[in-house]
Amino acid sequence: MRSKVKTKMSLKEQLEENDRLFEETGYVFGLGELSRKEEDPTKYWTVKSILSGIMNNAWNLAIKVSTSPLAEAGDCMLMLLTPTGETICASHGIQAHMLCPTFAVRDLIMHDYEEDPGIEPGDIFECNYQKITGVHPPDIYDYIPIFHKDELVGWVAGVVHSLDVGGITATSLNMISPSIFGDGIIVPNEKVGVKGDFKKEYIRRVNALSRLPANYMADRRSNAAGCNLVASRVISDVIGKFGLDYYKDVTKEYIEDCRRTIQTRIRHQLVPGRMRIRECMDVPLKGQGIFPGQDRDFLIMIPLELDITKEGKFKWSLHGASAPLPFGGNSAPAMLKAVSSMPITMALAYDWFNHGALAVQDIETVPNSWSDPYADQPWASTSDSWETLVPTITWFCELWSRAQFSRGYIEEVMARFPAMILAEVEGTNPAGYYIHGAVGDLQTSGAGAHAVRDGDDCAMSLGGGRVDMLASESWELFYPFMYLGRRLAADHCGRGKYRGGIPGNPLYMFINTPTASWSLQHLGTHSKTLDNGGMYGAYPQPSFRINVVQGTKEVEAYIKLGKNIPTYRGDPRKPNETNMPAGSYQIGRTVPQAVPEPISSYGIIDYTSVGGSGFGDPIERDPELVKADLDNERSLPGTARSVYAVEAKYDQKRREWLIDYEATSKLRQKVKEKRKEGGIPFKEFWKEERQRVLKKDMIEPITTMLKESMELSPKYAQEFREFWVLPSDFKFA
């Protein structure tokens, strides 16, 4: 079918021309000059503001069309694109998605959709296939063409995190999915709507394959409503007032301007060189795995090498990445590149929000690793790609914070905010409606510490700058639980001279539901290991553990008597759940709980969200900051002494903590002496550790991880052998 696309060149020709111009000139679209900006800067910035206003206004409409509290909490976004798919600007919301639709439009163009099935006014295209783009299946992109008369002048895309896409478990992240065949409804770039509405057969497919089809379609209509509002206002308020030629020129200039801004800021704020960091993340699935290869405790290497080049670009490599995962934790090159643009934008192009961030980076993934699993495993699951994606991209912020510190822009420094964690629940809600989905407490993460102050508590969402955990009542109306508490998780942060932001500690008690289940999906948290985040001598945040109270009859009776019910975790040595009837509770279970676990009414789950990493040596922390944390119950007395080396006593009369400065000074001196006495020269440490490596004297998950990393990345194998000075044929069996 011929489409109504009327341009001098086909979209494919335009795209190829754009790529060629960028390759040859280094300027996006070959724009050596920003003539529209130069001729009338006021008009240039005015139109940019109008476009931003249009996007945010449409976003406010879209979240009201969706039935999901996740959308209301900000897990959705709208993006305006050029005809060839470059993002021009975006709305509020989950900024991680800002550049993902670019790859969907590119795919559509390269697969000749212009010819078949054609591109018509009123069409709705959809994609949630991670080989093409996106983050995971529940983040479904719907996008529509913008036509001015008969000419395609751009696209608008929307995304909402949907509660259920029919995956193998009743969760949205569906971490245990062994392959794409467990990921649920996958739409690999398809025309799902015509004449402004979704096709009947598409809706029937959703009705047949999703557990929550009404919510699913409301999210699609949320996208469509937002996209249509953007499209109509771009036509009326921008093209109508400023002319089509101006719109075409200026939107391209915004993108090139963004690229220039980022490269200029890299050269003005950072320092060129090579940066390296990694973490080894445990995923303990022993006893939970249900498909072949899953029933073991995994260790995943997540490395990042970042070269800040002479030209002011980022060249990054994941060499050392370990093997693909037989569950949903894999990433993919397009998503890594698109999502890494989010921290780049947040840190260096906060006044822009567009494709320019893609133009300043080159990425090297490792074929057949979790970072690019498709060559050997074309059906690898990415249902919970955040598991590897979050740790990867959050390293960026810490690495260039190090460069900003070196350069003196210390106000910009922020240690890492290393992960997220997502509770998902299932059951019958107070309205008697079957429901399942994610809870917004993942938005209660703590931010990384700054070089000049503590990180913000409970104020960080990796996915987007707009943090909203929503009122507890919103979730209680939607899901089959009530909050027993939603407090700050004392000390659950990186500990340093400046500590990371403290996250939330929600406790859910399930009630009035005939059946229920819960899971805690993994997005980069550590249980058996630590995340390795933090700058200049700070300890990483603690291990992640879940406390669970089973809803037994004894527990029900105990609760109904109004006895000492836990409302927060409390002392990690003796959490408050230990007050509950003997035998009803389990303390310190590892994360994740990948497979939904049944729970009865009156059952309780207690977990913590993710804290920010710290900055500097903890014993350099101002004792007054330790006192403030003790007074506000953000830190416990044991931590004050063991980590910060601060002696404090609680004054019952004054109802505050008092610092003993003299004793603190002596204690800090003692810690330094202990470091000197107990510390060994690195050379000695290296010689002992080297012997251990030669003997391969490590637990199986470590040797397996190292074997995978060395086999998949010859470069890492060489670095590993050079570091330990090993024979050239050294390998782990």
Binding site: T529, R569, F682, E722
Partner: protein
């Protein structure tokens, strides 16, 4: 383009500037003479005379010592060539047992010692904890930042340093030597 007094930048560095003012500084375009002032502030605070070329962390600096460029702690301890991972000359306080780990991470906070060791890299001179690395045993220590000083000074600041050094990681050369001892 804003400019800040050195005195204000010192208050910022000491963590005593009001958050409202810090936010203003974040919001403003960046001051172009910051690096120059930054070096002056730090140079006045350290105990040594060698010229600071680049701060690496809040305790460590790359300095010009004669014809060499070495890493030096603010206490004066010298870690050697900046192209060798300074950790090689640190003291390692290793937490490789469950008890040692639980001194910092008690109860439900604790990871498992078989899976992860806490390597605390301290200055042999002043015992400041310079970096903490939490990796499984056997995983090499990372060299977090190897700056390309000649590109930085020559191409970015347009103030080339007197002599050029090859931009190369020399850590493995030292380790190879150690293996022969």
């Amino acid at each position: 383009m804003p400019e800040y007094l050195k005195e204000e930048l010192e208050i910022l560095l000491d963590g005593k500037l009001s958050w409202a003012r810090v936010q203003e500084i974040i919001d403003n375009p960046k001051d172009e003479d910051r690096f120059e002032k930054w070096l002056q502030i730090l140079q006045a605070r350290v105990s040594f005379k060698e010229k600071i070329l680049l701060p690496l962390t809040n305790h460590l600096y790359i300095v010009q010592k004669g014809k060499d460029r070495i890493v030096k702690c603010d206490c004066g301890y010298e870690f050697g060539d900046y192209r060798v991972n300074w950790k090689l000359y640190s003291l390692v306080y290793l937490r490789a047992t469950q008890d040692a780990i639980e001194e910092i991470y008690p109860g439900t906070e604790a990871p498992e010692a078989e899976w992860v060791n806490v390597r605390e890299y301290c200055c042999p001179g002043c015992a400041a904890m310079l970096e903490v690395e939490t990796l499984p045993p056997g995983v090499p220590a990372d060299f977090e930042f190897l700056p390309d000083l000649d590109t930085f000074y020559g191409d970015w600041l347009n103030q080339p340093l007197p002599e050029k050094f090859e931009f190369i990681d020399k850590t493995s050369e030292v380790l190879a030597q150690w293996a022969k001892e």
